[in-house]
Symmetry: none
Subunit: 226 residues, 2 copies
DNA sequence: CCATTTTTATAAAATCTTTATACATTTTGT
DNA sequence: ACAAAATGTATAAAGATTTTATAAAAATGG
């Protein structure tokens, strides 16, 4: 199944990874594993999962640092798994953006219930299949874009960019954010990519390219869909 | 304060209520108390709070039942507080719609952190802070400024300056402070920059440039937004 | 081979910095 | 008290710099 829920496990202990792997997979989650902070951040960035299980005691970097780096852009649930049960660590993690904190050893049934709880509240928010804005219709479920009821043919990248802009209608999305979301975090300096694709999108959906009414340039910052 | 965050405590133990009352109020939450299930459901329905702390061991009805009845309509966070630490109760509560489950006795710092975490994820998406001052609206999340509901096009520097002034409405911000905040510490002598940009902002948001009503000059000191 | 993505090049547009000038207010010297 | 000087402010406009739009060539991957 391609639309299975993906969970990224960042933990250096093989036993824990094995336990989580078996537990999660037998509950129909697709599991990805990272053995350290570097690998975790890389996998999360290149193919963002639906939820992250993060160990605080990683070999190469503090889990607190990983959490903060993730939260610079990652908005879905993060659950901390840690042997540390002192209040200070728990409060720090929760205030850094963790959604939950379980002390090892944890009970797998409780972990699964907490995962279900977080997935429930994070998924229910983004279910607007068809977004309409004047003459433009974007059907996120079908991945189809129409202009005046005529289907517009977009490439994958063009569609991803337009969908992201439409999902955040009215909001200014920075170059950094757009590049990281579409191409990945290592592309945040390639503003040229954006310009090329914005131009291509405008050619396809704007009536008058010299006076774009949908994709607005915010010079020095980014772009905005209205 | 009328826009304080309201938390409803449903618990029959007086000591717990007293502890929660003191802890929550000293963290600027407004607290309402219910001593049993019937009262809890009634208060929640008549004046829905922003978050509910629910004890599972209530005298008149099982907390699990209260939770299910609340979740028929109540969508904001519910945290369970219970002496029961067995997995069965925890899983049942979380699957019935609880957002978190703390075993009594709990640590107040951790409880507060978990409350902050839940309030963060439930409120940040629904409402973004729009600062309104008469005919001027500044939407910090969207990075959009409107005058009489018409979007005003501002450059990066203009926006940064206006946002800083608006965030400190009524307060006088010194030249030094403004220059350091917008241009950096090495520019604190470039008062001319400020004058140029204040003039440009006034041209865009004031009705009458010769009688500015929003951006006020404090001669020899700085500027002020009203 | 073809559709798409990435790279390159260049003109145009937008923005920032600097300079110049005018005006208003306060301070200084007599 | 008065004029001159000094200080602080407002604004326009020139120039320098940064950012953006666009076409088109080269590279990539099925």
């Amino acid at each position: 199944m391609s639309n299975a829920i993906e969970i990224l496990v960042i933990d250096d202990e093989p036993q824990i990874r094995k336990l989580l792997n078996i537990t999660l997979q037998s509950n129909d989650y697709k599991v990805k594993e990272a053995l350290n902070a570097r690998e975790g951040l890389s996998i999360a960035a290149n193919h963002p999962p639906d939820l992250i299980l993060l160990d605080l005691g990683l070999p190469d970097e503090s889990g607190h640092v990983v959490l903060e780096k993730l939260r610079e852009w990652y908005t879905k649930p993060i659950i901390i798994l840690s042997v540390q049960s002192n209040e200070e660590d728990i409060v720090k993690a929760l205030d850094s953006g963790a959604n939950d904190y379980l002390v090892k050893p944890f009970r797998t049934g409780e972990l699964l219930a907490r995962i279900r709880s977080l997935l429930r509240s994070s998924s229910s928010e983004s279910e607007n299949p068809i977004l309409t804005s004047n003459d433009i219709q974007v059907d996120l479920a079908m991945r189809v874009v129409k202009k005046n009821n005529v289907t517009v043919k977009l490439t994958v990248t063009e569609y991803n960019l337009l969908a992201l802009l439409v999902k955040n209608e009215g909001k200014v999305l920075t170059h950094q954010y757009l590049l990281r979301s579409i191409w990945g975090p290592s592309y945040i300096n390639q503003s040229q990519y954006l310009r090329v694709y914005i131009a291509q999108l405008r050619k396809k959906i704007e009536d008058n390219i010299n006076n774009p009414l949908h994709i607005i340039t915010e010079s020095g910052i980014g772009y905005r869909f209205v």
